[in-house]
């Protein structure tokens, strides 16, 4: 979209010659304000208006298509949207996401600390873990775990080749939910570790030095000085991770857990004619989940911005209020002119 501001300005200045006289104009009325006291007229941007119009037309067309194309079967969408099977699936999705997000973050923090530790063994173990789980596709991890109970019927904790302290009957322990959560958490921890490590590294070295120089205990240094500052850069990256995780849960269908996507799939095979509205149901629910996470992200980021910026960014409500006030003031001004 090419604009020529020069042309716009001269076009602006030329026509209202009566309204805005030049100061050297001898015919200027005596009561006219001097040039310096006059309001500067903003530059006109015709290109921007044209672009806006084009985009609006395209958007309207898409909405029209969505609403009127019988292919989408919106009545069937309405029928399925709050069906108990779908809501049960949604609940599974939420549960799996919640457990994996918490376990993944805890695991990620531990892995990040291990990678930043002075012990070469911890560093190496953490590195290998991250390397492994970032390399293997999540679906492979899940299927591996799913078949794990067949490979190892019992799982025991003890000394290798020596006595066992605890023994679990794995076929009873490993429900589909447990398999799904373990698989997602293992995968999530590897990515979260890098997010957390990046956040910790982003904290200025001077902060570590100041905390050491004050003799603050090591644990306090991490929990109260370094980590809260690291969270500022961890939050947006981890939310990204979290959104990936919400959608990643759709893979648990392959370990026979009926999550949101799983219920949609199984209903779709029972009612093949409804597959499109069913996919739309899943889409809208995933959209809602992501939106909720984004809203939470905004407020969490705002909380951790304390002290980092001189003034906190306004909340959407504050922005709206300011916008309305500004608009009113402008209308009043225009009316006065």
């Amino acid at each position: 979209m090419s604009e020529s501001p020069g042309v716009a300005v001269s076009a602006e200045q030329a026509p209202p010659a009566e309204a805005i006289p030049r100061p050297d104009d001898p015919a200027a009325p005596a009561d006219q304000k001097p040039l310096a006291a006059q309001r500067v007229l903003p530059i006109r941007r015709p290109g921007r208006w044209i672009a806006t119009a084009v985009v609006l037309v395209v958007v309207a067309q898409i909405i029209h298509g969505l609403a009127t194309n019988p292919f989408y079967q919106w009545d069937r969408f309405g029928y399925w949207f709050l069906r108990p099977t779908i809501l049960d699936g949604l609940l599974i999705t939420l549960e799996v996401t919640l457990y994996s997000a918490v376990l993944g973050l805890v695991g990620g923090i531990l892995l990040a600390l291990a990678r930043l530790s002075r012990s070469p063994v911890l560093r190496a173990v953490s590195w290998v873990y991250i390397w492994l789980f970032r390399s293997v596709p999540l679906i492979v991890v899940l299927l591996f775990l799913y078949n794990f109970s067949a490979l190892y019927a019992t799982l025991s904790l003890g000394i290798p080749f020596g006595p066992a302290f605890f023994t679990f009957d794995e076929s009873r322990l490993a429900t589909d939910m447990v398999v799904a959560v373990i698989g997602l958490s293992l995968n999530e921890a590897a990515y979260a570790a890098e997010v957390v490590r990046g956040g910790i590294l982003s904290v200025d070295q001077g902060q570590h030095e100041a905390a050491s120089a004050l003799g603050l205990p090591k644990r306090y240094q991490f929990a109260k000085i370094v980590f809260p500052q690291a969270l500022r850069s961890i939050t947006p990256n981890y939310v990204n991770q979290l959104i990936g995780l919400i959608k990643g849960t759709s893979l648990v269908f392959y370990v026979s857990l009926l999550d949101l996507f799983g219920s949609v799939q199984s209903m779709g095979s029972t009612y093949p004619g409804d597959i499109v509205p069913l996919l739309l149901v899943a889409t809208v629910w995933y959209l809602i989940l992501t939106s909720v996470v984004s809203v939470v992200q905004f407020y969490v980021e705002r909380y951790y911005a304390r002290g980092a910026t001189r003034t906190l960014p306004p909340t959407p409500l504050q922005k709206l209020r300011a916008g309305v006030t500004d608009l009113r003031a402008r209308i009043r001004k225009e009316a006065a002119v």
Binding site: D204, G206, Q207, E209, A210, A211, S212, A213, L214, G215, L216, P217, K218, Y220, K224, I225, P228, Q229, Y304, R306, G307, A308, T309, R310
Partner: protein, 261 residues
């Protein structure tokens, strides 16, 4: 160990034959220095002469390769094991550091804590004071550095001079036996230097042991009991300011002073 008995009393700092190097680069080449209780020592010297490293060795932010530092006779960061020196655990070193105040060139305040919490954090975290007492002490100290009205502000809302005064209050909150200043005014706009120097001068008058690395020669002349001139990782010359600054004996000192005065 005589830990915990030195608080509130000005300490003696002794540096014994300290060597420090990074790879082949020698930063300190056998430094001996004794700072008596209540004495104000100003360290001068060209950049790269090892002044800041010496300060950081004193509170064990840097480990010396050879030599040791003691505070009131107690070794810092190491202990005697027969006729050898063994490194102490980090926990013990942190306890020792809490008796040595340190003020950084770049302030290094905690940006996510209010000014009040910046000052009150260390006494609470190290278990020296309860929360309420620490906050009371923090208010008192902030009043002393002229920032009683800024307790609720965050560090980035303050000017550089104000931030450095908060940093000084933060160092004082642990009631250290000695306070080390690493170029405390070098990151400040010229018109803000005075307010920080005034606070340091006030401390000097109160009998605390101070070791100050600075480029402010005039300030050194005014408050120092002793001026130490360093070059190339060694102490070239030391003595009262009238001697070292006005009648230096060494050529290197004369040369440096002729450039900065």
């Amino acid at each position: 160990m005589t830990a915990g008995t030195l608080d509130d009393t000005a300490a003696t700092v002794e540096v014994h034959d300290v060597h420090k190097w990074y790879g082949a680069h020698r930063v300190l080449n056998g430094v001996d220095l004794t700072v008596r209780p209540g004495e104000v020592t100003v360290i001068l010297g060209p950049s790269g002469s090892g002044k800041s490293t010496l300060l950081r060795v004193i509170n064990h932010l840097e480990k010396p390769e050879i030599g040791h530092v003691s505070l009131n006779g107690e070794l810092i960061g190491v202990r005697r094991h027969g006729d050898r020196l063994k490194e102490l655990s980090e926990r013990v070193i942190l306890t020792q550091r809490s008796r040595i105040g340190f003020v950084f060139q770049n302030f290094n305040l905690f940006p996510h804590l209010t000014v009040l919490d910046n000052v009150a954090a260390a006494p609470v975290a190290t278990g020296k004071l309860g929360k309420a007492q620490a906050l009371e002490l923090a208010r008192e100290l902030l009043g002393r550095v002229g920032l009683a009205d800024k307790v609720a502000a965050y560090p980035r809302q303050l000017s550089g001079g104000q931030q450095q005064r908060v940093a000084i209050a933060r160092a004082l909150a642990l009631r250290p036996g000695v306070i080390l200043f690493d170029e405390p005014t070098s990151a400040l706009d010229p018109e803000l230097v005075g307010e920080v120097l005034a606070v340091i001068k006030d401390l000097a008058g109160s009998g605390t042991t101070l070791v100050i690395v600075t480029h402010e020669i005039g300030f050194a002349r005014e408050i120092a009991d002793r001026v130490v001139f360093m070059d190339d990782g060694r102490i070239v010359e030391q003595g009262p300011p009238a001697e070292v600054l006005d009648h230096p004996k060494q050529e290197r000192t004369k040369d440096f002073l002729s450039k900065v005065l």
